[in-house]
């Protein structure tokens, strides 16, 4: 089949599937949050509320589109478009199934643009453009709250891009490529023990956290912080334009989940079920479902994180990026360089990551204590008696 036709079919599949999936992710989010808070959640439309996304979609389509008179019309209208465009464009180099595996029907390629040598860098490049949707939407709204949200978004994205890129540099060094298909293929060929998560657990944590911040998900959604900024950058948006912003956000979530599974969890590999030599009928389908299952796991994790952790304060957000994540990702990169240079076993990186994490925790704790001491009006805590020490210290920390 001609290459062009396959590409068009793949694009059609992706563009057709993602809005529907995003719709149901919103239902999943509402159901999961209801479950976590001991509520019922949406259950009126269809069995178990399963038709709720359709009703929501129709509602958003038919709602009145309000364009306030004081906005900058051009930028106000293109901002949601930029949001969706960049989110979808980043998905073009993400393999969403077993690329190049025998048995799959010819028209299914599982990736829109195969063989992109700079795959990972491309995703970061396009992802760094995604903030324009928020910044322009907030600025064009000509509203103090929106502008503040846009300001916060721009500072946040510029800061978190650094740990995001630096955390995966270790993987690029280990596998000698930034091509996503090749990174996945190397892990699959090596089997369960070659999953990158064993060598780069710290990088996985940093990557996942930084990409949550890039996607503006709670606890990093300072840009739309409701209790301070009404709705943040989308205060003035309504109906489908508002929905487009969230289509962009959920698409970003999907991309991140696929990326994390491909970079750290071995892609479609699952020991015993989806091996490179498993040849039972419909093996390609199982492999695709394995990859999607991993991505689904990360999506569920993001949703549950949202309903567990409260929002950061803005200075905490900046501190996390500049004082914790950037130094840690640099140290992680140095560790990979060290191991590669002296040709040690990759397994040294597992205790190394743990040691880095522990060391940084201790440094942060002592820095915080020193900062507290430097504050004016610092009262030295009373010494507690020796046999109560551990208990009392725990209490003091809790206060």
């Amino acid at each position: 089949m001609p290459e062009l036709l396959i590409t068009i079919i793949t694009i059609a599949i992706v563009v057709g599937a993602i809005p529907g999936v995003c719709n149901y992710l919103i239902l999943l989010e509402r159901k999961l949050s209801a479950w976590m808070q001991d509520r019922v959640g949406p259950n009126r439309v269809g069995p178990l509320g399963l038709l709720q996304p359709l009703a929501d979609g129709v509602k958003l389509l038919l709602k009145e589109e309000v364009i306030p008179p004081h906005v900058d019309r051009v930028l106000f209208l293109i901002a949601p478009g930029i949001s969706v465009f960049t989110a979808l464009l980043a998905f073009a180099v993400v393999p969403f199934g077993p690329v190049g595996v025998d048995g799959a029907p010819g028209f299914l390629r599982f990736i829109i643009a195969p063989g992109i040598d700079i795959g990972l860098v491309f995703i970061f490049a396009v992802g760094s453009l995604a903030v324009y949707g928020i910044v322009l939407g907030g600025w064009a709204s000509n509203n103090k709250y929106s502008a503040l949200g846009a300001l916060r978004a721009s500072a946040q994205v510029v800061s978190y891009e650094i740990p995001l890129g630096m955390s995966v540099l270790g993987i690029a060094l280990m596998s000698g490529t930034v091509n996503l298909e090749e990174i996945m293929q190397q892990q699959i060929a090596g089997g369960f023990a070659a999953w990158n998560i064993w060598f780069q657990p710290l990088a996985a944590l940093l990557f996942f956290t930084a990409s949550l911040a890039e996607a503006n998900r709670l606890p990093f959604d300072l840009a739309e912080c409701e209790q301070e900024l009404v709705g943040g950058w989308h205060t003035e948006y309504s109906a489908l334009k508002w929905a487009l912003f969230f289509l962009g956000e959920y698409t970003h979530m999907i991309t991140i989940s696929f990326l994390t599974s491909i970079l750290f969890l071995g892609g479609w590999h699952l020991p015993g079920i989806a091996e490179p030599d498993s040849a039972y009928p419909l093996a390609w389908l199982v492999k695709m479902l394995v990859l999607m299952g991993k991505a689904f796991f990360f999506i569920c994790m993001m949703i549950m994180l949202r309903w567990t952790i409260p929002r950061f304060r803005f200075d905490q957000l900046m501190e996390l990026a500049w004082r914790v994540m950037i130094p840690l990702s640099l140290a992680n990169l140095l560790m990979v360089m060290f191991v590669r240079h002296f040709e040690l076993s990759n397994w040294w990186m597992l205790p190394g990551s743990a040691a880095l994490f522990a060391a940084w925790g201790m440094i942060s704790a002592s820095l915080r204590e020193a900062e507290r001491r430097a504050r004016p009006g610092y009262v030295r805590r009373k010494k507690v008696e020796a046999h109560h020490d551990g208990h009392a210290a725990g209490h003091a920390a809790a206060h």
Partner: protein, 272 residues
Amino acid sequence: MNEWMQQHPASIGGLVLWAIGLLWLMPSGKPGKSRPGLPGIILAAAGVLAFCLGAGRGIDTLQSEVMFWTFALTALLCAALMITSKNPVYGALWFALATLGTCGLFMLQSAPFLAAATIIVYAGAVIVTFLFVIMLAQQSGAAGYDRRAQLVVPAVLSSFVLLGVVVQQLQTNPLKVERPGIVAAEKQSTTKGSATSPPPLPSPDAPIPPPPPVIPAMLSKATPETPVGSMKGLGRSLFGDYLFAVELAGTILLVASIGAIAIAPRREEGAL
């Protein structure tokens, strides 16, 4: 130089027209007395057209021709709009679009990593920081000094003189830059070609043409495993051939960032 000017009147005229058009379009900052933009646009467009026709280049396939002109005109148009727009936010946005156009040209030159890195650094970080500063500092509309262009005549004059000199140099003595991956393929085809038809021997009367200037072959050659556009080839070239330049640039950037931290006001001095 003179010879070239006589040979390429269209290029020179185009450059001059283009510069005058841009000068006309520069924001003057007087809200009541803004010049009508149309004459400037016409002049600049005519200038660009004449310049492109005069300094035109030959590309082989229609596809790359269309893509080249699309990206090049996007970059040029957005750059012109960037310096002529009255609103600093729009100026920053046109800057971002001009960067994207330039990155398209990088892609056409099979430098995808350079393109992606430029997008990350310029469109993704630098311009977002500009927007941040503009929005933070001027929430009640742009300040007066941001609504008019500064040092218009020297800026336009120097940039267009520079452009003219670059084009003149490129046209009078074109550099034969060895592009490793492509050269390897070409060499194969020429060796095959020369096997069938040997090059004619130069007749003894004819003056020997001067050899085209070739960049010294100190660059690391690309192999079939590491073609020219790949990250591996780029990394080898950067950290092999240009190691000194890379380290120097890194040191300068480090000094600059230390200096920025040193001169930034401390919190006690009233910073945010």
